[in-house]
Symmetry: C2
Subunit: 223 residues, 2 copies
DNA sequence: CCATCCTATTTTATCGATAATTTAGCCACT
DNA sequence: AGTGGCTAAATTATCGATAAAATAGGATGG
């Protein structure tokens, strides 16, 4: 049903932001493997934009840490070594733990309501297998949750590292079981927000990161 | 003596990186106040570069969080509200504390030697009042120190927030006394690296951030 | 005298053409 | 057969010109 809305790239107009979005999605869904070359001309042809926008999109993806650019050589989808994955996740744990600790508990009803709505939408997408929606609501859920810590700069950094770990998280998108576990975690988080124990919430946020990291590390070690 | 090497911008060639550096320096030395407009044409005239590079420099400064750009309006030097300063420093404390905790102690002799060399150079610059050198060796000192934590991504984030707090740190550059206190802190840090107590080191790193933050917040509150 | 619209000016955004660089394949030479 | 350099292809980097947008100042009508 949802697959109908794919691949309209020939028809609609594009600016550099939409190119960034599209490529980001290609990466998390595994359609663009790490190491894949991204030449400007390819983007030009695919998105029907002027060179200026294709280039700008690549520049932006580079600063987001999603692609690597070498001078006079072009851009490739960034590939992460296990070491880098470990480092990135260590920082993610640090940031998300602290954000969770800083959330004033119990959380206001408005926040609970907003998260519950996102949670339900997420659940529907998981059940129907609409991955694009799963990914989108998942990210919105976490940014809303961590946003409650009141430190917008911390949230920005959390968002940055979410982007950086896109290829790592790609794995877990492929199995419905993982998505359901993740969904259940979210439910628990909402419950915790009603209580007063920041430490339990923080631990939950840290644990929530483990499955996709472990899955990825296991995957690369067996190759 | 050192002032001789200033203002050669008319003569030497520039790429966007050198523009970024120059503007960065202008900000930390207070020559460019927060809120100042940076039009492309101004940079064009000042650095004798093509519009392409001036523009690219502004784009880069924006992603570094040093300037703000509004569509069709141009770039201005970012100004930080006290709230933002507080947020930024909360994150800096978090990151630098953790980096300090992750440094394996006692630190290897090679690291001690490297830091001692930087420390001495820093001291010379403080004494001679060569601010450009003070700033440069100061940043190198901290990046080398935190680099020892072994997590390059964490170090990158620390560097990012050092940039973001450039205007805050500008204040403390103006008083020799602050610089000397800072210098003494560095000496203590090196001492701590020889010991085994990560927590003392971490606390020192956090304390080291306080003076410039407090000075800045006091400054804006009295205006 | 005030509000509104218009216009001139400033400034950024977009573009396609051209220059510079790298890469790979080929050929000549040893 | 192997090595070195040379040419052609692919790709990115740079540029100046033009388009579009925002702004400020003044003119016009009420």
């Amino acid at each position: 049903m949802q697959t109908l809305e794919e691949s309209r790239e020939d028809e609609i107009e594009h600016d550099d932001l939409s190119i960034v979005r599209a490529l980001e999605e290609d990466i998390i869904f595994g359609r663009l493997a790490p190491g894949t070359r991204l030449t400007e001309d390819t983007l030009l042809a695919r998105f029907h934009v002027t060179r200026h926008f294709a280039r700008q999109a690549l520049v932006q993806l580079e600063t987001m840490g999603v692609v690597v650019r070498e001078r006079n050589k072009g851009a490739t989808v960034r590939s992460l070594t296990p070491r880098q994955v470990q480092e990135i996740y260590d920082v993610r744990e640090l940031l998300q733990r602290q954000a969770a600790l800083w959330i004033p508990l119990p959380a206001p009803d408005a926040l609970i309501a907003e998260l519950t709505a996102l949670h339900e939408e997420h659940g529907r997408h998981v059940e129907s297998g609409y991955l694009r929606g799963v990914h989108e609501t998942n990210d919105r859920f976490h940014l809303t949750l961590f946003g409650a810590c009141g430190n917008s700069h911390l949230v920005q950094s959390i968002e940055f590292y979410m982007r950086l770990s896109l290829p790592v998280r790609a794995n877990s998108m492929s199995s419905k079981e993982s998505l359901q576990i993740s969904h259940e975690h979210h439910r628990l988080m909402i419950e915790m927000l009603k209580g007063r124990d920041n430490w339990v919430l923080a631990q939950l946020c840290v644990d929530h990161l483990q499955p996709s990291k472990k899955r990825y590390l296991a995957y690369v070690s067996e190759n």
